[in-house]
Each structure stands twice: as C-alpha cells, then as structure tokens.
C-alpha cells in the first residue's frame, strides 16, 4: 500500500468536497441547528424568533431539494447519495417539518412546553431523517436513525410535568433502544457475511455467499428492528401509548416524518434487490407483517375513544398498506409507497394539526366524543377534518385513494392478489372509524362543548396540508411521474 488507495481516497474526497452544492441542504440544516442553539442561548426573544427561523430554513431546504432533484451523485467513499428519491424524501421531511412548526407555534405555548428547544429538537430530528434519505451505507442508515430516534425520545417527554408524557418517553426510549439494538446486531451479522455494508451490494453479497445463514438472520433482525420503527404489528405496542402520551405536536412529527424516515431506510435498503430472488426470501415476512398490521390497526381503531390513539392505530394500519408495496417489490410498489408516504404525511399532519387545535391547555378535549357537533360550531375546522378523514379512508379523489391504488396494483402485478384483496377489505373496515368522526361532527347529538382558539399559524399549516392532499389526489400523475423518473 499503497499509495493508490490513498490517492483514490484523496481524489474521492476532492470530488465529494467540490460537489458541495449537491448535499448543501444537509450541511445547511446542521448549521441552522448550531445557530438556533446560539439564538436560544443568547437571545431573550428566542421563542419568537426560532419558529420563523426554523420554518424559513426548512422551506429553503425543501425548495432546494426539489430544485436539485435531478442532480444525482454518490459522495464520500460511497457513503452518501444525493438527488432522485433522496431529494424527494428530503422534500417530504423538510416541508412536513415546516408544517409541524406552524402547527406547534401556539400549541406549545398553551400546553406548557413553551421551550425554544422544541424547534432545535425538531431540526435535529429532520436532519436525522435527511441522513437516512441520503444513506448509501448501512452505517449511515443507522446513524441517521439514531439521530432521529434519540431526538424523538426527548420530544416525547418534553412535557416534564405531565406523567403521560414521561411515560411515553420512557416506553419509547426503552423499547426503541431495544429495537435499535436488533438493527445494529443485524447490520453486524450482515457485514460479516457480505464483507461490505454498501447498500448496493450488501444483500446480493449475502445471498451469493456460501454459508449465509448469519447474514440472513442479520437481514431479519434489521427488518424486525425497522418493523418496530414503522410501527408494524407485532412490534406496534409502543405506538398508541407514545402517540397518546407525547405532546400532540411531537406526535405529529413522529407519526409523519418518523414513519416516513423508517420506510425510507427500508426502501433504500431493498431497492437494489427489487424483483430478484433475494427479495423473494423476505417477501413472505413482509406480507405477513402487512396483513397483520392492516387488520389489527383497522379493527382495533374502531374501539378507540381517544382521537390520538385512533390515529395511532390508523398509522399502524397504514404501515401495513405500505408494507404491501414493499412486499410486491416491483417498481409500481416502490413508486406507490413513496407516493403513499407523501400522501400519508400530509393527511396526518392535517389531522394532528386539528387535534392539537381542539386540545385544551389541560390536555382535555382529546376524546372522539368531544368532536360532537363540531360541524355547526366550527364549520371550517370540521370540513377540513372531514377532508383528512375521507383522504385517510381512501375515498377518491383525495391523495389517500391513489396511494392505496398504486400499492394494490403493485401487489396484483406481483401475484400477491390475496394480499391486495386483504388490503381492500381492511380499508373497508377502516372507513368505519374514519367516517365515524365525520358523522359525529355533522350528525352528532347535542352542542359542541369545545372552544378552541383557532390561530393563524395552525390554520395555515392545516390548510396547506389540505391543499396538498387535494392536489396530490387530483393530479396524481405529475407526482408519480416525478417519482418514477428515479
């Protein structure tokens, strides 16, 4: 040695550094976090500055990601990718993050977590998600995941004075750390068998290897760990407790960005082996998880009385639908999952935004029955929530419908017709609990008892989500075309 190796490394580094503008957003956001910490430390009005600073920064990242979407490349010794799907995911994370900030500005004030740290944590979580989206190596996935997860543990427990928030944080942390352990262990076994952790080769190497049982067990542990992170049955137990206990604005980020990021990791990891026999080995596992999640989530959501828990079970069911797309393993499936992830994020952001508005300062008004008669008292809020519920239940022409549509088509193309039909049946069940809220709002007996203070920032966030849900539903073609280019 090998001066060639060193030279190679040096020239790669030079190329990577010169491509600075390709991965600029992630560096930018890291800088923003540091500046935000400084603002929080030294400025007395940090609580007023930070939200707008965060929104601006995140929107800038979102815009930049879309602008450079065709600028594909791999840098840093094959560790980090830019352009294509990475940028599409980054857009979902940063734009979604910006909406969460809008929803939180007034929420954190009323619910007793009026700390500047909230925004810094949010930025860190988004940074972690972006690291996952850019990962070209299992280690990068892991680092991004930890960056995001650890921030989430803190965000879940942000309301120190409330037992429910503490409980959520503790449960999330203990169970989450456990799942992370599985992922690392799995990555270790994969590395041993494959001799590399580069996403493009790791799976194919494992299946090409002679004695590959440890590697396969590694893949399974990886899958199990991520099933936990996406909240798929049977690793879903934490979801309802954490979604319910955490402050609603934190839940909004966990339920959308957090879940999308975990799916991003799965998509990136499995994409290189799409349609090969390699994937066929884990397809049954994915299919069973999908089946269990869809039915369990949909059926159990029916009995919930708390709206946050209901949305938690709905998110479990949705994880199931998206797993169908992965199990199908064809291009349709991946496009469908990406589309669905975007649709899912905006539908849930809107729904949680409204929940956060209706919620009172003392954590009341979270029961589904509190939505009784909302239609007459707050027609705009009720109409918006109905829109999100229709979209979530997959009623056309909103975004949720096409998400499910692509995924089911993908399953049929891959001869998983039974799974598609199961998905269809589960969606029927889910229609019941989504529409129950609509029915209650418009047809419920009695007067509405809630008196939310509808603030502009939240309303803007909710309306933007609603617009996206409609636009994605009415013009699904353009979104899909964008995705299918990569």
């Amino acid at each position: 040695m090998d001066s060639t190796a060193i030279n190679n490394f040096n020239s790669d580094l030079a190329v990577s550094l010169s491509a600075f503008w390709s991965y600029f957003p992630i560096v930018f956001l890291a800088g923003v976090i540091l500046i935000s910490i400084a603002i929080e430390m030294y400025s007395k009005s940090s609580k007023k500055i930070l939200p707008w600073f965060t929104v601006t920064a995140l929107l800038a990242c979102a815009y930049y990601s879309l602008l450079t979407v065709t600028d594909t490349g791999v840098y840093f010794s094959g560790m980090f990718a830019t352009g294509g799907l990475t940028n599409i995911f980054n857009f979902i994370f940063t734009f979604g993050g910006a909406i969460v900030v809008l929803l939180s500005v007034d929420y954190i004030k009323k619910s007793g977590i009026y700390y500047g740290e909230f925004y810094i944590l949010l930025q860190s979580a988004v940074l972690g998600m972006m690291m996952i989206a850019g990962a070209k190596d299992m280690i990068m996935i892991f680092i991004g995941l930890e960056q995001m997860s650890i921030t989430f543990y803190v965000m879940a427990g942000l309301n120190r004075k409330r037992a429910s928030s503490n409980e959520a944080a503790l449960k999330y942390f203990l169970l989450g750390a456990f799942a992370t352990g599985f992922i690392v262990y799995g990555i270790g076994l994969m590395y041993g068998t494959a001799g590399t952790l580069n996403i493009d080769f790791v799976f194919s190497n494992i299946f090409a290897a002679e004695k590959n049982l440890p590697g396969i067990i590694g893949i399974l542990l990886f899958l199990v760990g991520f099933s936990f992170k996406i909240g798929a049955v049977p690793f879903h137990m934490w979801v309802p407790d954490v979604y319910q206990g955490a402050p609603t604005s934190s839940t909004a980020l966990m339920a959308t960005g957090g879940k999308v990021a975990a799916f991003t990791a799965l998509i990136l990891a499995f994409r290189p082996v799409l349609g090969t026999e390699t994937l066929a080995v884990i397809t049954p596992v994915l299919a069973v998880f999908a089946l269990l999640s869809m039915f369990y989530g949909s059926i159990v959501a029916i009995a919930q009385t708390d709206i946050k828990r209901m949305l938690a079970y709905s998110s479990i069911a949705n994880a199931g639908y998206m797993l169908i797309g992965l199990a199908a393993g064809n291009d349709y499936g991946i496009e469908g999952v990406v589309y669905y992830l975007a649709a899912y994020s905006f539908m849930n952001l809107g729904a949680f935004g409204i929940v956060a508005l209706i919620e009172s300062a003392d954590e009341k008004n979270l029961l589904i029955s509190d939505y009784n008669g909302l239609g007459t008292k707050y027609p705009v809020l009720a109409a918006l929530l109905s829109l999100f519920m229709f979209a979530l239940s997959g009623i056309p022409p909103f975004a949720g419908f096409f998400g499910k549509y692509y995924i089911f088509i993908a399953a049929i193309e891959s001869n998983l017709t039974w799974l598609a039909i199961a998905g269809v049946i589960a969606s029927v069940i889910s229609v019941y609990f989504y529409l129950r809220i609509v029915v209650l709002m418009y047809f419920g007996k009695g007067e509405s008892q809630v008196t939310p203070e509808i603030t502009n920032a939240s309303l803007i966030g909710i309306v933007i989500s609603a617009l996206l849900v409609i636009v994605m539903g009415v013009f699904p073609g353009s979104v899909i075309n964008l995705i299918s280019n990569f």
Binding site: F178, G195, P214, P234, F402, I412
Partner: protein, 759 residues
C-alpha cells in the same frame, strides 16, 4: 358531458349558499334548473347517440395509468342519464314543498345535487376507474341522504348500514377492476371487446368477475345483500323515490348491463347473475307480503324488480336483453311515482299504513289519479307501459318451467303490492288518521308527469321508446336489431298468463288481512341482516377486547411480545436453516474460566431474585468485572481495561440515580416470573447458539485483512487496535473525545441544576 357532471357538483356546493338567501321552495326551484337543463342537453344529443355511433368525450386525468374521464353516450347511458336528470328535476320540485318543515334543507339539496352529479358520472363513464370513483361518491351521498334525519338512532343505523354494505361492495368492485386491469391492461370499457378470449380463459378472470358482481349486487340490493335497501327507507321520501328506486339502485343493473357484452364471455358471469336475480325476485316479493308500511312495501317490491332485471341480464338471450330496457324504463316511471304519492299520503294524512288508509281519491284527486295510473302500470294492465314490460318478461321466461313459475309467482305478489300501495289508500271507504286535503301543486306535478308518461309510453311505445330500446339492446348485446315495440301482440299465451296473474293478485289482495295476520316464525339466523349485525358487533367486541388484553399499557408485557417476535422469527430461520449444525463447542475451558463462569452464574441468580435495587446493581457490577477478567484471560488487556472503567462508571451512576428512588414496591407474581424466566432463558440460549455458529462461519471482512497487512508497514505498530484508534481512524477518535467532552460538560451542567433544586 363532463360539464354536466361538474355542473351538478357545483350546484351542490352552492346549494347551502342559495338556501341562505331564499326559501326552501325557491331554492328547490332554482336548483331544479340544473337537472332540467342537463335533461334538455341530453335530449339534444339523443339523435346522434341513437344513430348508431355513440357520442364520445375524453378528458385526460392520469393518462399514464389509463385513468381518464371518458364519457360514452349510447342507448344504455342515454336512457339512464335521462332518467337521472328527468326524474331528478321532478324530485327537486317535489322536495321543495315536501321539505318545508325540515331543518338544514341547504345541506339536503347539496347532497341531492352531488348525488345526481355522481350518478350521471357513473352512467356516462366508459372508463372503469372513473366509473368506480363516481360509484363510491353515490354511496357516500346516499349515506348522507339516508342519515339526513340524523337525530333518530334508526336513521343513523340505516345510513351506516347502507354505507358499509354498498361501500364494501364498491371496494370489492375496485378489487375486481384492478384484477381485470392486470389481465387486460385497460380500464376503457369499449376496449374490453378485444379481450373476450382472455376474459373467457384467464384464471384470474373468475375472481375479477365475482368481485365486480359483488359490487353490482350490493348496490342493486340483490340477495343476500338486499337488507340495506328497506332500512334505507328512513330517508325522506323524495330520496327513497330518487335514489332507492329510480336511480342509484339501478347502478348495479347498469354496471352488469354495461359489462355484459364483454364479461359474459366468462361462464361464471351469466350463471351467477341469473340465479342471484331469480332468488332475489321471489324472496323480496314474499317479504313484501308482510309489510304494513307503504314505503316498505314499495322497497321490497323494488328489490324484487331489481332481481327481475338482474335475472334478465343473466338470461342473456336475444329477447331478455330487449325486455331489460323496457322493464327498467317502466319500473323507474311507475315506482318513482308511487314513492312520491306515498310520500304525499304521509304528508297529508301522517300515516303510511295502507290498512288504515282508504278513499283518499276524493280529497287528493291529482295525487290519487297519478297513483292509480302508476299502479295500473305496475300491475301490467293495458294500456300502461308496464303491460308491455310484463308481456315481454313472460315471453323471455317461457322456455324454462322453473323460471316461468318463479316469474309468475313474483308477478302475482307484485300485483298485490301495487294494489296495496297504489289503489287501497285511494279507493273504497274514506279512512285516514286526520283531516286531509290535496298537497301543494309541486308535490303532485312530479307523480302526475311520471304517470302520464307511463300511459303515453304504453299507448305509443314505438314513438317514445322504440329507438331507445333498440340502441339499448345494441349496447347490451353488441348486435343491432330492428325490433318494433308494440302494445298489443294479440291474444297469446303471455296475455292469458297475464290475466291469471292479475286475478291471483286480486285474490291475494282480498285475503290481505289474513295474510298479514299469519304467524310466520321469526328465525333470526336465516336473515342476512342478522349476520351483518353479528359481524358488525363482533368486530367491535374484538376491538375492545384487544385493548383490554393486549394493549394494557404494561411495558414489561410489551417487552415480552417484542422479544418473542423479534427473536422468534430469526430463531425459526436459524433452526429450519439448520444453523445449529455450525455450533461447535470447542475445547474444554481451563479452570480459571470455569471458576469465573460459576461466579457469573451465581451472580445472575442472585440478581434475578434480589429484592433491593442496590443489590441488583452491585451484582451486575460483579458480572461486569468477571467478564473483564475473562478478557484478560483471553489476552485482551486493553479491552478489559475499558470494560473495568465502563462498569465502574455505570455502577456509580446507577447508584446516584437509585439513591433517589423508592424500594421495589411490588414484586411480580410467581407465574409471571416463571413465564418471564422461560422467555429470558430461551432468548439467551438462542443468542448464544447464534453467536457460536457465527463464530464457526468464516466472516469476510476487507477491513480485518487490510489492517492486519498494513498496521506495521504504514503505522509502525503491532497492536492493531491501537493503530486503528490513533492512526487509521485518528479523526474519528478525536471526534469521540470531543463527544465525551461535551457529554461531560452536559453532566456538569445537570449537576449544577440538581444543586439548585436541592437548595
């Protein structure tokens, strides 16, 4: 055509606004302009549509996926869309008076307009995907309309039931379309013509056909999904007349008719349709005998007629397809009229019980006349249009005794029902719960127009309907015909059968009190609605039970489940993949290792059974130290040093934290401890086996080789770990040190906070 559909949605959106500034009557009149103009527009297209070339319109939506707004106006869609817009106009007029006393009428008109638009979308679409979307919208608006009187528990129950049944069917329909798409690659209905072979032979075609039929059957209330329709009668009467007799429930019939030329290539199609229709017609007719509510009687006879229509499609014969158009048209005209008149009777007398009504003709001459004419058409007496329909129906079934008998019995009961619903309240001795007078003009003009049409269509069938029926036949069969509609076919077998039918019907009518008081055992489990309730409540119960047992909030329990599944899956693969064959236990360890191992084991047992937190921590520290000693024995002193440091630090930190915590308050029950220990032991055993087997498989690593080869050459160090830390990965190490520094600063900050707290 897209404009017509959109106009409906737009007027729906505007309806509440219009209602804000105008009275109910005026709102209804204004909104009636939309269906009326759509009707006129469609009539203007009729000439072109019936000339043999359908009017086609295409607006791209998602062209990449073949999902577009494609509209197609031929005999079938023309007939349906004219019924929708024509009857729609009359319904708007009727509602504007009927709803005078209701609240929220703005919403009502909004739903009604949107329903009409969605329904037009269904019948005009020739793209299955957009057809499906409009289809679901009709279910949704129907749900809103049935639940309009939402203060009543029964209304809400019925609305939800209708939505769940038709919605489920709709989704089955979607699944069917998707499968059909996967075998044909098109959503366009006319393009299916090229795939008849595929549809006949592909094995996926059978599930596709069955799923599509499920959609059609639920929507058109076929047995065993019929129960939602009579319950849907909770809706205000104009809704029942419009949705649940004239239009929406015919969507399923429309779908079957539309797809018949293509899907009948598959043998399942016609068989399933024929027998479902046959069972439905007689079953629903029999139930209608026991009803004492005008609307319920009409509802069950509607189900029965829907069965007849379905059956006619299933026969798929030359003549049955001609009959279909005639029967559908006749039924829409007389049934909508009868629904409206029964609504008027309810409005005027406050009762819908035919046993308590009679002789209303004198008080309500216009309504009464319309009802009587419609009843005549329903019975099938000359010269009403219903007569032609029934004659043709008989001609279609004479070839088969089973079909003919069933058809005859159904017709008899329908005659009885027509007498009960259309004749009994108006003729005979005056009978009414309260003083009555004629309804406002807008309420009798609708049934009046419909009744007149029943007569005109009967008297001059060829002029009014001839072209329509011929083109309709062409749409259903793909063949042209020069069949001429006639009222009088001379004295033949059908006419005689028809006469006997009427006589038997009158006979039943005379025995009505006996029939009604007849005791029929009420067997719950033969009713399909019973299974609906069981399923519905079952799902709710399961849902609640799981919250109690599985999601009980206990963290330990969650751990149990997560460990079981996350290790169970790899363990399954490990054992089925015969990974245990790689387990090689190696040489017997030396005495020091054995001693250390025993100490670790004893410590573990003590730790598990300890009742104080301090003890547990201390013991865990002991285990850590023992492992460090093992490292020394195995020749890794550097690792041992690290482990010592870490163990010491953890114990100290734990003690600091636990100092503030109370003692264990509860110790779990013995049976839980046994369960937990079993899980713990088996996980431990599996992980150990996995570790050992991994050890025996040679692991590839570019890194190991690279560092082994180069650590001395490049960095002049023989301790590879050290070389990696300070040379190859020096930058990483610097990063780690920095992180540790920051963490230390953080701990220092926290301790300051703690001090402040304790002061």
């Amino acid at each position: 055509m897209l404009v017509s559909v959109l106009a409906g949605f737009a007027s729906g959106a505007l309806a509440p606004l219009i209602r804000k500034y105008f009275s109910v009557q005026v709102t209804g009149l204004i909104l009636a302009i939309i269906p009326a103009s759509i009707f006129i527009y469609l009539s203007s297209l009729a000439g072109t549509a019936l000339s043999g070339t359908p009017v086609i319109e295409k607006v791209n939506w998602v062209p990449a996926l073949g999902i577009n707004f494609e509209f197609y106006l031929d005999g079938l869609s023309l007939m349906m869309s004219m019924l929708i817009s024509g009857i729609g106009t009359l319904i708007f007029l009727y509602s504007s008076s009927y709803l005078a006393k209701y609240e929220d009428t703005g919403k009502f008109f909004a739903y009604l307009s949107m329903f009409m638009a969605a329904m037009l979308g269904v019948v005009l679409s020739s793209n299955l995907m957009t057809l499906f979307i409009f289809w679901e919208l009709t279910s949704l608006t129907s749900f809103l309309l049935i639940g309009f009187k939402h203060k009543y528990e029964k209304s809400r129950y019925s609305a939800l039931q209708a939505l769940l049944v038709t919605g489920t069917g709709g989704i089955a329909f979607l699944a069917g379309i998707l499968i059909l798409y996967s075998i044909t690659g098109t959503y366009s209905i006319p393009e299916l013509a090229g795939f008849k072979d595929v549809i006949a032979r592909d094995e996926l075609a059978i599930p596709a056909v069955i799923l599509i039929l499920l959609g059609a059957f639920t929507k058109s209330a076929q047995f065993p999904f019929h129960f939602w329709l009579p319950n849907a009668m909770e809706a205000p009467t104009p809704v029942s007349a419009y949705l649940h007799s004239a239009t929406m429930v015919k969507a399923g019939i429309f779908l079957m008719a539309r797809l018949n030329p293509y899907l009948s290539a598959n043998f399942v199609w016609s068989e399933v349709i024929t027998y479902t229709g046959l069972v439905t017609m007689i079953f629903a007719a029999l139930i209608s005998l026991k009803q004492n509510d005008l609307k319920k009687i009409l509802a069950y006879t509607t189900v029965s007629v829907l069965g007849i229509l379905t059956f006619l499609i299933g026969l798929n014969s030359d003549y049955s397809l001609k009959t279909l158009g005639v029967f559908l048209l006749a039924h829409s005209l007389y049934k909508a009229a009868l629904f409206l008149t029964s609504g008027s009777v309810d409005y005027a007398t406050g009762s819908r019980d035919p046993f308590k009504l009679g002789g209303l003709l004198k008080k309500m001459p216009a309504t009464g006349t319309a009802a009587l004419i419609s009843a005549v058409s329903m019975i099938g007496i000359l010269p009403a249009f219903g007569f032609i329909a029934k004659e043709m129906f008989y001609t279609s079934v004479t070839f088969n005794n089973l079909f003919m008998t069933t058809g005859f019995l159904t017709a008899v009961i329908l005659t009885y029902a027509a007498l009960m619903a259309g004749v009994k309240p108006f003729l005979g001795k005056f009978q009414s719960p309260k003083e009555t007078s004629e309804t406002p003009v807008l309420m009798w003009i609708g049934p009046g127009v419909l009744a007149t049409l029943s007569l005109l269509f009967g008297l001059f069938p060829e002029i009014f309907a001839g072209g329509l029926i011929r083109d309709n036949y062409k749409a259903l069969s793909g063949l042209s015909t020069s069949y001429i509609l006639k009222l009088w076919h001379g004295v033949n077998f059908e006419l005689i059968l028809s006469l006997i039918t009427i006589l038997c019907g009158i006979g039943l009518y005379l025995l009505r009190n006996k029939i009604f008081n007849m005791k029929i055992p009420d067997i719950k489990f033969i009713k399909p609605s019973f299974y609906y309730d069981v399923l519905f409540n079952g799902v709710l119960t399961v849902s609640k039970l799981q919250t109690k047992f599985l999601q009980n909030g206990s963290l330990r329990y969650y751990f149990v489940i997560i460990i079981l599944f996350s290790l169970g899956l790899p363990a399954f693969v490990f054992f089925t993949g015969e990974g245990y064959k790689n387990v090689y236990l190696g040489e017997i360890p030396g005495i020091y290792e054995i001693v250390l191992g025993i100490i670790v084991l004893i410590s573990v047992i003590v730790a598990v059974s300890a009742k104080s937190r301090f003890l547990v921590i201390a013991i865990l520290g002991v285990i850590g130290y023992m492992i460090s000693l093992l490292y020394i024995l195995l020749g890794a002193p550097d690792l041992a040093m690290t482990q010592f440091a870490v163990e010491t630090l953890t114990v100290v930190l734990f003690v600091l934290v636990i100092y503030k915590l109370p003692k264990f308050l509860t110790i779990s029950a013995v049976k839980h401890r046994i369960r937990d220990s079993l899980i713990a032991i088996s996980s431990g055993v599996f992980i150990t086996l996995l570790m050992i087997s991994v050890y025996s498989v040679e692991m590839k690593s570019e890194m190991k080789e690279y560092f082994g080869d180069n650590s001395y050459i490049l960095a002049n160090g023989r301790n590879i770990v050290n070389v990696i830390l300070v040379d190859f990965r020096a930058l990483d190490t610097l990063g780690e040190i920095t992180v540790l520094g920051i963490a230390a600063a953080g701990v220092f900050g926290l301790m300051k906070v703690l001090k402040k707290d304790s002061k």
